[in-house]
Amino acid sequence: MNKKLLLLLVPLLVIAAASSAFGAEPEAAPSVAETASSALFTANNIWMLVSTFLVFIMHLGFSCIETGLTQAKNTVNILFKNVAIVAIGTLTYAAWGFNVMYPGEAGAGGWFAFGGFGISAPDGAAGLIEYAGGAYTYWTDFIFQAMFAATAATIVSGAVAERIKVGSFVIFSVFFVGLVYPIAGMWKWGGGWANAAGFYDFAGSTLVHSVGGWGALAGAIVLGPRIGKYVKGQVRPIFGHNLPLATIGMFLLWFGWYGFNGGSVLSGDPGGVSLVFVTTTLGACAGVIGAMATSWIISKKPDLSMVLNGALAGLVGITAGADIITPMESIIIGGIAGVVVYFAVLFFDKVKIDDPVGAISVHLVCGIWGTLATGIFGEGASVVAQLKGIAAYGAFAFPAALILFFALKYTIGLRVSREEELGGLDKGEHSAEAYAGFQILN
């Protein structure tokens, strides 16, 4: 049967190898070895690509949870931001971000280095089986890392929702995912100083979530709270308009996290990936129970939106050490994260930092907690090194984001007008309506 014509290189190799192996000639031996390596390489690489599409779908998760937890009149705006970020994050990462984050030898132990513009795979085996010791190809490396990149800016998107100008946010994103994230990432994953200093962050409690969380905190502070959130010293809840959508978002994030953490094993290693699946799942489940119990006890009724945050809190918490902690420890870390996120949400409301979706509580606070917990529980990680790392990342990401936001505020402006905010950003920024025909009282 004549099928789609394409490079059947690998399968052909197998057959060659297999058939020659059955023959008695001694030259056959290397072919079998090649087949075996090729098989392992293929399996590993498949796992990394599976992880890639799992991380991709997290962007839909973010879109849904952020939209669901905000008001109907700002829906188009939030969706738009989340779609735009994926494109901006990936393209800037291709243009220079990847080479800032992974500058090669130049960055070893350092703070910054630049590997040049664009992406291009080393020729032949150097970009394939030899690129990462048979774990994945150059292109796989790029695309998996690129999916992570946009995440950091997406975290900010939730905290600044319902009041930021869309143009300003797009510009912020370019700089945040194009520069802040890859520089911060290079310190550890790119082999920089933090890596040398023994800082441990398996899949990004700090590198991705805290960095995004610091950006979220800076944004929420510079913008100020939404109109009507804090009135006469009281917190007036502004209800999310679509909790099924928010729940879809939480589940998709959790789903994607299997790639986020599972792929961070950087190969299909059965022991490693399966342990990470267990710790990740238990951490999330414990986060659900933590937030559920807390909200049931404190507010008398179980609060779904808090439980959704609890699951994410558990996931963020588990991310730094998912590969070096035990399942039991993952339950402890996740459970604490679920409790912490509840009080963190209350705390930020108390200090009048308005974060519509709880991004700061989930990603920053639990990112810090997870990084610390890795020092406490994880073998081979130290509390001191973790604390240093946490501090250093905060000292970089928060001021960097502040500067970006202030620069925008005093040039093209950061916040929409009072009229636009009241009427909704969908109308103001997009001349659009998310739910045409539905009768909605905003």
Binding site: V235, P237, I298, K301, D303, M306, Y342, V345, D349, G358
Partner: protein, 113 residues
Amino acid sequence: MKLITAIIQPDKLEDVKEALFEAEVKKMTVSTVRGCGQQAGYEESYRGAVKTINLLPKVKIEIAVNDDFVDATIDAICKGAHTGKIGDGKIFIRSLEDVIRIRTKDKGEDAIG
């Protein structure tokens, strides 16, 4: 002619409709409203903050009737909507100067039914 407007509990709509049909009142216009009255509001909590919702979901029924139907209509509404608990609602009666049936351009008492 009168225009009778009733504000009732949402879950009583079916019963009121039935009572009206029995009373041979078969035309009405219904809409969703939110009401605030003697009935205490309830609290909604969201992300740790609490808000008292005192605009409760209600259903509004509007019926234009000729004068000889007013009492039957009111009785039917009361029959269908009454539970004796706060929040049962109100009926407002106003005079109606004229009615026009768009389809036939009939006016007045003939047009109402």
